[in-house]
């Protein structure tokens, strides 16, 4: 059988998978490792539902061959909460009503996470740029943008207290 072995970390845990080389990171996350928070929308780079973090940067799992994850740290939506404690972005999305059907939400939150890591107090324009690759058919984006701004402010406060 034609298989590749790939080692990477997923949400902080080491993983080793042995799969056909054509397998995408999205298929590995959802079908081999059973984490279904990461969604498949279009499968060709246009909707952002499959967004995950690769070493902290937002990438599309549907266009990533599994071998390209070798040695890297992958974060999915399941990796954000610390135990029962939700990430500030998750809390802000709930409080602002930035979720309706929820299909875009994991990808949206991870794009926002990558943004806040580099830029804790983004402008509205910067938020729009960061999530321009994440389509939402429900919310109209306004509440999403508000939630990201709120989470940015809250993370800054938490950091100031630490």
């Amino acid at each position: 059988m034609n298989l590749v072995e790939v080692e990477f970390t997923l949400n902080g845990e080491r993983q080793k998978v042995i799969v056909p080389p054509r397998t995408t990171l999205l298929e590995v996350i959802r079908e081999h490792l059973g984490l279904t928070g990461t969604k498949k929308g279009c499968g060709k780079g246009e909707c952002g539902a499959c967004t995950v973090l690769l070493d902290g940067e937002a990438v599309l799992a549907c266009l990533t061959l599994i071998s390209q994850a070798e040695g890297h740290a992958v974060t999915t939506i399941e990796g954000l909460a610390k135990g029962e404690q939700l990430d500030p972005l998750q809390e802000a999305f709930i409080e602002e009503g930035a979720i309706q059907c929820g299909y875009c939400t994991p990808g949206m939150i991870l794009s926002a996470k990558a943004l806040l890591r580099k830029n804790p107090s983004p402008t509205q324009e910067e938020i729009k740029t960061a999530i321009a690759g994440n389509l939402c058919r429900c919310t109209g984006y306004v509440k999403i943008i508000k939630a990201v701004q709120k989470a940015g402010r809250r993370s800054a406060e938490v950091a100031a207290h630490d």
């Binding site: 034609n2 590749v4 056909p20 080389p21 054509r22 995408t24 499968g43 060709k44 780079g45 246009e46 952002g48 967004t51 690769l54 940067e57 937002a58 990438v59 599309l60 549907c62 266009l63 990533t64 061959l65 071998s67 390209q68 070798e70 794009s111 990558a114 943004l115 740029t129 960061a130 999530i131 321009a132 690759g133 994440n134």
Partner: protein
């Protein structure tokens, strides 16, 4: 469904070139994968082997070498936007890369992949052509260097031989008195393929409102990104005002050979070539 290819994962450039020397006819390299995975997924290509370039860190560098900037083929669009070197030395390229796809596409997609894909609408290419950048192709037998303009042969067609990899892109650093502008027309601001675009690079003349050198590259307006040499000559070393600029930029319609497709008609593209060029030069001369 993606076909069942074999995967090769070289750790160094010499190892990659050795593999291509032996199996080049069958191997499809993959860098960011943003073009290739789409083609694999819909079955447009069915390679028997794929070579994952992601471990070749030597192709991810941005370096200053004398008066030139060397950008490795695996430099991503995001790296171009974020590197202090490109921001000061290659602002026109930064403007082009900023308009590619979305944040995720820019984080994954590379300069080498954008060039190798050779789409007439590729957004880093007009800047490279206007800057007279060169592309370095490496094979086991050695390296050769071509102007980017000559590297591009047609839609999806380049001078790359199957045993070669794009190693790096070399462009001259920006100097005092030089300015650039990239103007893209898409259907919307993000995730939009260019309907038409133009990159303009100039050196300001000693007299006010003159340009001592001009280079123009049109994208999505011909089978490859194309220089506009007639307009360049007409703009050089003469005093420009709004009226003369308007007159000269009309020449652009003779330089382009657009097609009609789902995004726009040929006639509309021609009109937009003129408008985008006029806007760009107006911005450079009178607004900045």
């Amino acid at each position: 469904m993606v076909n069942d290819f074999r995967l090769v994962r070289p750790k160094t450039l010499p190892e990659a070139l050795g593999l291509l020397d032996e199996f080049g006819q069958e191997i499809e390299p993959v860098a960011g994968g943003t073009d290739l995975l789409v083609k694999l997924e819909d079955g447009r290509i069915r390679p028997s082997q794929v070579m994952d370039l992601s471990a070749l860190n030597e192709l991810k560098q941005i370096r200053l070498v004398g008066e030139d900037l060397h950008l490795g083929a695996l430099v991503t669009h995001t790296a171009v936007l974020e590197s202090p070197l490109t921001r000061t030395e290659a602002p026109l390229l930064v403007m082009g890369c900023r308009t590619v796809g979305s944040t995720q596409i820019r984080n994954m997609g590379t300069l080498g992949g954008n060039l190798a894909t050779a789409s007439p609408a590729g957004d880093s290419i007009p800047a490279l052509v206007a800057l007279e950048a060169k592309v370095v192709l490496a094979s086991k037998k050695g390296e050769r260097t071509l102007p980017v303009e000559d590297f591009l042969v047609g839609p999806g067609k380049t001078e790359r031989r199957r045993e070669e990899l794009i190693k790096e892109i070399i462009l001259p650093c920006a100097r005092e008195g030089e300015k650039g502008f990239y103007n893209k027309l898409g259907q919307r601001n993000a995730l939009a393929i260019s309907i038409a675009n133009v990159a303009v690079w100039v050196r300001l003349g000693e007299r006010k409102n003159t340009l001592s050198r001009v280079r123009i590259a049109f994208g999505a307006l011909a089978p490859t990104v194309k220089r506009g040499r007639m307009v360049e000559d007409a703009l050089t070393d003469r005093e420009l005002d709004e009226a003369s600029l308007k007159g000269i930029t009309q020449l652009a319609w003779k330089e382009v050979a657009p097609i009609t497709d789902i995004r726009a008609s040929a006639q509309y593209r021609r009109d937009m070539a003129i408008a985008l060029l006029y806007q760009s030069l107006y911005h450079i001369l009178f607004l900045s």
